[in-house]
């Protein structure tokens, strides 16, 4: 059908953003002068022209039914001339030019189950990934833990409880870290803990042995022949559960209901404000999966947030606070056990060792 092929539209890219900008933004584009957090979840941006733009930030579970699209569309039509946006943390922002509509919008959207908050020195939405909802690789669920944690720490989102600074939490359901959790104030990371199981019967068909062997960074995968078939053998002691083998070959599996779980990481950041961006560091090496509400994970995150909220100075991000008080104190305050697993043994390990006398005795 050459006709159909001709009509087929491709490579048009996304719509131009200008189509979606409210008039007040078009007018004041690049002219914003300053902003203020009017109250939790509400920002006002003031332009050089004197114009004011009000943004109301609304929580979202990220997973949305199209019905909710329509609901948001209706709200936008009612309160913000049909304009809204999503943030880089998956919250929804209604963009208002009329200050009187702020409170009605808040009342309306809250009543529909979508609370307002997450601005300023608060805990915002948790960046997260697919989990058992869609990914084959997931060592834990994503949305479930996020829901449980946010339910519990909700007062830090809606401004009821105060934090010293923005507190960025992220979750990734496996070491691929699609949530880019590696630079978060608090990161929740799904982990496998059982060496890959090999399905010798299918391996020959689903993947190439040399590719599979090469995929392992620690050389834990060795070619072997079994019942006359080319397959592989796993040196379990060498496995660090990276799942790279699993990514390249469906016949090896890492998923294990009784072994998979969650690790907790702290102290990363991305912004350059004050201190440089940095990776998160291991706080808790392993918590078993305990759906549907992962109470031990929630407890650990809450513990961190609480001791941080109590101990940090204004503007101090989690990592900056820990750096000031020292890791010995962090482990003391949280009660987390410091184990051999906390000590790096990968390629850059030497750069994580204390090669000086600059440690606190406690």
């Amino acid at each position: 059908m050459p006709e159909a092929v001709q009509k087929r539209i491709t490579d048009i890219g996304p719509p131009h953003y200008e189509k979606f900008l409210p008039p007040i933004i078009k007018k004041n584009y690049g002219k914003w002068k300053y902003h203020e957090v009017m109250k939790p979840g509400v920002l006002v941006h003031v332009s050089e022209t004197g114009d004011k733009l009000y943004s109301v930030r609304v929580a979202s579970p990220r997973i949305l039914a199209v019905d909710t699209f329509r609901m948001f569309a209706d709200l936008a039509d009612k309160y913000s001339e049909g304009y809204l946006r999503w943030t880089s943390r998956n919250n929804v922002e209604f963009l208002l030019s009329d200050a009187t509509k702020i409170d009605p919008l808040i009342a309306d959207v809250t009543a529909k189950g979508f609370p307002v908050g997450g601005t300023g020195a608060a805990m915002s939405n948790i960046v997260h990934t697919q989990g058992w909802v869609h990914c084959h690789s997931a060592a834990t669920d994503a949305s479930g833990i996020v829901k449980a944690v946010m339910d519990d720490l909700f007062p830090y989102f809606n401004g009821e409880k105060k934090l010293p600074a923005k507190t960025k939490v992220a979750l990734a359901c496996c070491l691929n870290m699609c949530g880019a959790v590696h630079c978060s104030d608090i990161a929740i990371l799904g982990i496998h803990r059982r060496p890959p199981k090999v399905d010798h019967s299918t391996l020959g068909k689903t993947c190439e042995v040399p590719t599979l062997v090469a995929s392992c960074p620690t050389a834990a995968i060795r070619p072997q022949s079994k019942d006359g078939k080319q397959t592989v053998h796993i040196e379990e002691d060498l496995c660090m559960f990276c799942a790279n083998c699993y990514t390249v070959c469906p016949s090896v599996t890492l998923n294990s209901g009784i072994n998979d779980g969650v690790s907790i990481w702290v102290g990363g950041k991305v912004s350059n404000a004050r201190s440089e961006p940095r990776f998160s560091k291991l706080a808790v090496a392993y918590i078993p999966n305990n759906p549907p509400r992962w109470p031990e994970v929630v407890e650990a995150v809450k513990k961190i947030v609480e001791v941080y909220a109590a101990g940090a100075r204004k503007f101090e991000r989690v990592g900056e606070w820990i750096e000031r008080i020292g890791w010995p104190r962090f482990f003391e305050l949280t009660g987390f056990e410091f184990t051999k697993y906390h000590i790096d043994d990968f390629k850059l390990a030497s750069k994580t060792f204390r090669t000086s006398m600059h440690y606190r005795m406690s």
Partner: protein, 395 residues
Amino acid sequence: MANSETPLVDQLLTGPWPSFVAEFKKLTARKPIVRAFLGQLEQSYHDKLSHWKHGGIVGVMGYGGGVIGRYSDLAEKFPDVAHFHTIRVNQPAGWFYTSAALRTLADIWDKHGSGMTNMHGSTGDIVFLGTRTENLEPCFADLTKAGFDLGGSGSAMRTPSCCCGMARCEWACYDTMALTYDLTQSFQDELHRPAFPYKFKIKCSGCANDCVASVARADLSIIGTWKDAIQQDDAEVKKYVDGGLDIVNDVCMLCPTRCMRWDAKGSKLSIDNQNCVRCMHCINVMPKALRPGKQRGAALLLGSKAPIVEGALLSTVLVPFVEIKPPYTELKELIEKIWEFWDEHGKNRERIGELVLRVGMGNFLEAIEVAPAPQMILHPRENPYVFYEEYFAEE
């Protein structure tokens, strides 16, 4: 039917945070695929295991990416989710929408898929969660008709993303949305037809606050900054201090280079701008009084990525300052030089940041014709293993 009995996941319906389970429930009445989905999820919650299998290669005609194939390993029990592919759709720069656009997307996805979405995926795309292979092409046709296109997957460029920048922020040092849109349009082929050694992500932040976390998760991080002095309004500074700001402890002492001094007697803040590293802190605290300088542009940083396999990388300074002005020729030429080098020397599944580490930053710079500069490093090398390239032959 066992599908509707989801006691475990139903426990996630309560609590103050909006429930993703509630979102699924909105659709179960009219969508068998969502009912099946919830059944499988309940099973996962019970087994503490994912029941999805490795993805297969599915997609739309002429594109090499944009769809993640997904199949259930419980297809017999839940035949409606035997296929459960996701479609990645390019987001509009800055994630701005009108109610009309939202409704259009809703209608398309209601028609061709589960009706479930991720708003948005971690890379930034609109993610349509769950459909069957035969729906892909029709869905794509409706999307493009409505002015939308697919996002990236596989060894391709991914949809660039950006902070709201000049649209809603006083600190944007360049127009993040304009650049993001332009790059997305300019590199449509690289986005839709995977031909690189691995994925390539671009993220644009208007200033060093880096609200899209570009330094942590973009092969090319474009971060706004300035070259001259911070713009300072002394009267406004005084107002902040009079209003109770502890300027010494909360600003000067937190400046990373301690390049600020507050003279309490003269009520005067002095900034030694040569030593300012443009971290944004003082500006963040006093937006009315301090603003980025006037000579604005961006820094280009290269190579961040998640840990698999050699360990995570942050992006590293490649060009300390460049003006960002349409048609962005200089920038695009540099991107192309980087890709060229990567295409030639990169191994399969080797990100650009890993390649640079493998061949050496110095050699990489030489190849892409960027002069080495001390801004690129924390400090010069500590080890004496220099690969000197020339020597005199003896007799």
